[in-house]
């Protein structure tokens, strides 16, 4: 059996080394308690840094996705509202066409109806040129200019702008007016034709325009359905981004964050040990036989 002979310098070195380690340990725990983070530098958890960065990236991504989705919803919501009003226009135009196709009405009645249809067409032009803060929602990606002139000629773009609302998921934040209003049938022309039929006071011509008015209404409803689909996608994306952001944040906190209760207990323990070691060192190292002879 080997016997280790403890020398005075050995004891002093031991105290120096151990108290230094304890002081470092206390300082690290205090840092965790103050910052609330277990990982304060790459070397604290090098193997987890890739995961930490990925989670931070995900949290940041979800924030942007959420804002983009919210923005998309504001545009899509406005477009839905506009198309709802356009639907009302064609409902009213349909009512006029049905009633004025009756032989009972005379030229004056149809002339008054023609004036109302003219007004409806003007409303349609205004609605098709709706903008949100200067951004024309039915101009495709050329949203800085009005998509339709007073004649109903499309001047916008057929390219639809999109925004990113999730990983590789895009939603439309503008619409091709030539499809919404002039896809299968030219909505402006339908109203113009109805107006002409009313002005010429030919009941059969008025009756003949009913189908076109109904088709224009169906076209609007179809566009509105597509809008609703886009809105639902944005809504889902916004909800998803909120959920994922919360989940990723929670996960990130669980990886980076310190367990406050545990850190507090460890800190108390480390401080107690450190204090005890200092007391032992201060009291015990001064003792030797020379004091007693």
């Amino acid at each position: 059996m080997s016997v280790i002979r403890d020398t005075n310098s050995f004891l002093y070195d031991l105290v120096r080394g151990q108290t230094s380690k304890m002081a470092t340990s206390v300082a690290r725990l205090e840092e965790q308690a103050i910052t609330g983070r277990r990982i304060n530098r790459p070397s604290d958890a090098p193997t987890e840094m890739v995961q930490v960065n990925r989670l931070r990236e995900e949290v940041a991504n979800q924030e942007v996705y959420g804002r983009n989705a919210s923005w998309a919803k504001s545009i899509q919501g406005l477009a839905d509202q506009v198309l709802g009003e356009v639907t009302n226009i064609f409902q009213r135009a349909g009512e006029i066409a049905v009633s004025m196709s009756n032989e009972h009405y005379n030229a004056d009645d149809r002339s008054a109806a023609a004036d109302e249809v003219t007004e409806l067409r003007n409303q349609l032009v205004v609605l098709s040129n709706t903008d949100l803060g200067g951004r024309h929602i039915f101009a495709g990606d050329a949203f800085d200019t009005s998509p339709f002139d007073s004649a109903g000629t499309y001047q916008g773009s057929t390219d639809i702008p999109e925004t990113l609302v999730a990983n590789d998921q895009w939603v439309e934040v503008g619409f091709d007016g030539s499809v919404a209003f002039q896809g299968s049938i030219d909505s402006f022309q339908v109203l113009a034709d109805l107006k002409t039929a009313l002005e010429t006071n030919v009941a059969s011509d008025v009756q003949g325009s009913i189908t076109d008015v109904q088709d224009a209404a169906k076209q609007t409803i179809s566009a509105r359905q597509e809008m609703g689909h886009q809105y639902a996608k944005s809504d889902d994306a916004e909800l998803l981004s909120d959920t994922l952001r919360a989940e990723f944040t929670t996960h990130l906190d669980s990886v980076v964050g310190a367990n406050e209760g545990e850190v507090y207990m460890q800190l108390q323990q480390a401080r107690s040990s450190y204090s005890a070691a200092l007391q032992v060192a201060a009291g015990g190292l001064g003792m030797n036989l020379f004091d007693h002879i």
Binding site: I4, R5, D6, T7, N8, S9, F10, Y12, D13, G17, R37, N40, R41, P42, S43, D44, A45, P46, T47, M49, V50, V52, N53, R54, R56, E57, A60, N61, E63, V64, Y65, R67, N68, W71, A72, R135, A139, G140, D141, A142, F143, D144, G156, S157, D159, P161, E162, T163, L164, W170, V173, G174, N288, L289, F290, I293
Partner: protein, 460 residues
């Protein structure tokens, strides 16, 4: 035995005890002296004399003052000092650069890169919005500055390491010279009573040399030390060799030793603090090279994609980033024209596209997940995260290694200290023993003297 010879024997006891007390005093006085080895008085008996057929002892005498030591353990300990010192200084040095990769304050390269792509992602909601465009160019500038700042921190650290290495050379040469001079003195004095302090000085210098540059020590029977580094003696007997910091063909610093045939490069053989600095510098250089690759590859990919798009006027996209080849990370810069006029950002995929055309913006955004690094296996975020992780791993690895090697060194030092250090309790008991021996010898002299006095008075 005659009374007079009894007095002589007791006197030898007084003298030897006095030497032992003196040695104990020396031990006690040096209880806190670094590198001091405790001394013990070795006693011997003079040859007996034959007096009329009776063999009579002649008392005691101090044969030598032995310095407690273990050369084999010392050799292992000094070698371990170099090993532990290298790990320790590598760890300490790397910790200096860790702050450059701290991502907790949102100013690191990974975080700012993410912010750049986030600003692009946000711009997809309205590519024509000047505020969103401004955000993209600002985030681009912030990212470039983060890369510059990290690069500068790494370069500064390398310069600091080189300065430390340069400063160390003077110290190393001074230690080597002093050791050769101590060897000269040991040669002159020999292994006698007075050599103990010289041997302490010798070991302190070997200790310092081992902590600075490492090496292996060999002790000659006469007590002189020879220190080798990679087979070349930096100190051999009374001579020593100079070390210096030079540069290789690539301008990289190299540690050299001057030998008869010229200078020998010893960079890779360095241990101790010098070895740690060399190793840390190599690692930091690797980080810097990785950062340069990151900056240049990322810049090239972004520029290529941006160049295939069109700005709000329909003009082709210009370079978003610029850099100087070979020092991409330190010179990476966001284009100043784009900074002053974000309308130059080529988000559109068509020269005649609408203001909301973001086809090229989508392509730029897709670079975030494109594997444009490491032969198409890593995307930009992963590359940055891997680099940060690598730095953390290295620091953690060398901290652990330094702790383990340090523990091993502490064990060896503890063993050596157990053999050679001063224990005050032991010295106190020795003092009591030597004091008692001294007092007993004095009593013997007193008794013999009384008998002689009695005899003189009786015979008078």
């Amino acid at each position: 035995m005659s009374l007079l010879s009894s007095i002589q024997s007791a006197r030898s006891g007084l003298s030897t005890s006095s030497t032992a007390i003196e040695t104990t005093a020396h031990n006690v006085a040096n209880v806190s002296t670094d590198g001091f080895h405790r001394r013990r008085v070795e006693r011997g008996q003079p040859e007996q004399i034959n007096r009329k057929g009776v063999h009579v002892g002649q008392g005691v005498h101090a044969t030598r003052v032995r310095r407690a030591t273990d050369d084999l353990l010392g050799t292992r300990m000094f070698e371990q000092m170099g090993v532990a010192g290298k790990s320790n200084w590598t760890s300490k040095s790397l910790q200096q650069v860790e702050a450059a990769f701290n991502e907790s304050d949102s100013s690191g390269i990974a975080e700012t890169l993410e912010q750049l792509f986030d600003s692009m992602s946000r711009a997809t909601s309205d590519p024509s919005d000047s505020g969103l465009r401004m955000s993209v160019v600002r985030k681009g500038e912030i990212f470039a500055r983060a890369v510059n700042r990290t690069s500068d921190s790494l370069s500064d650290a390398m310069s600091d390491f080189e300065s430390d290495m340069e400063e160390m050379m003077g110290n190393v040469n001074s230690i080597a010279k002093n050791l050769s001079q101590v060897n000269t003195s040991i040669n002159a004095v020999g292994d006698s009573l007075g050599a103990g302090d010289l041997l302490d000085s010798r070991d302190r210098l070997v200790d310092q040399l081992a902590r600075e540059v490492g090496g292996q020590v060999d002790y000659a029977p006469n007590g002189t030390a020879t220190v080798f580094i990679a087979g070349h003696a930096i100190v051999s007997g009374v001579s020593h060799r100079e070390m210096s910091l030079g540069t290789d063909a690539n301008g990289e610093p190299v540690v050299e030793m001057s030998v008869d045939s010229g200078n020998v490069v010893m960079t890779d053989n360095m241990m101790g603090k010098m070895g740690g600095l060399v190793q840390a510098r190599d690692l930091v250089k690797g980080y810097l090279e990785d950062l340069d690759t990151f900056a240049s590859d990322f810049s090239d990919a972004i520029n290529t994609q941006h160049g295939s798009g069109f700005d709000v006027t329909g003009a082709g996209g210009s370079d978003m980033f610029s850099y100087t080849a070979g020092q991409a990370s330190s010179t990476l810069e966001f284009d100043s024209t784009l900074l002053s006029d974000p309308n130059g950002l080529a988000f559109s995929g068509s020269a005649t596209g609408g203001v909301g055309n973001d086809d090229n913006l989508k392509n730029l955004l897709s670079l975030q997940s494109s594997n444009i690094f490491n032969a198409g296996t890593t995307n930009s975020g992963e590359f940055a995260a891997n680099l940060i992780s690598e730095v953390g791993n290295d620091i953690s690895k060398f901290s652990g290694l330094a702790a383990a090697e340090g523990e091993h060194l502490s064990d060896l030092e503890g063993m050596m200290d157990s053999l050679t250090g001063v224990n005050l309790d032991q010295e106190a008991t020795d003092l009591i023993e030597f004091q008692a021996a001294y007092q007993a010898a004095a009593k013997v002299i007193q008794a013999a003297n009384s008998l002689i006095d009695y005899m003189i008075e009786t015979l008078a």
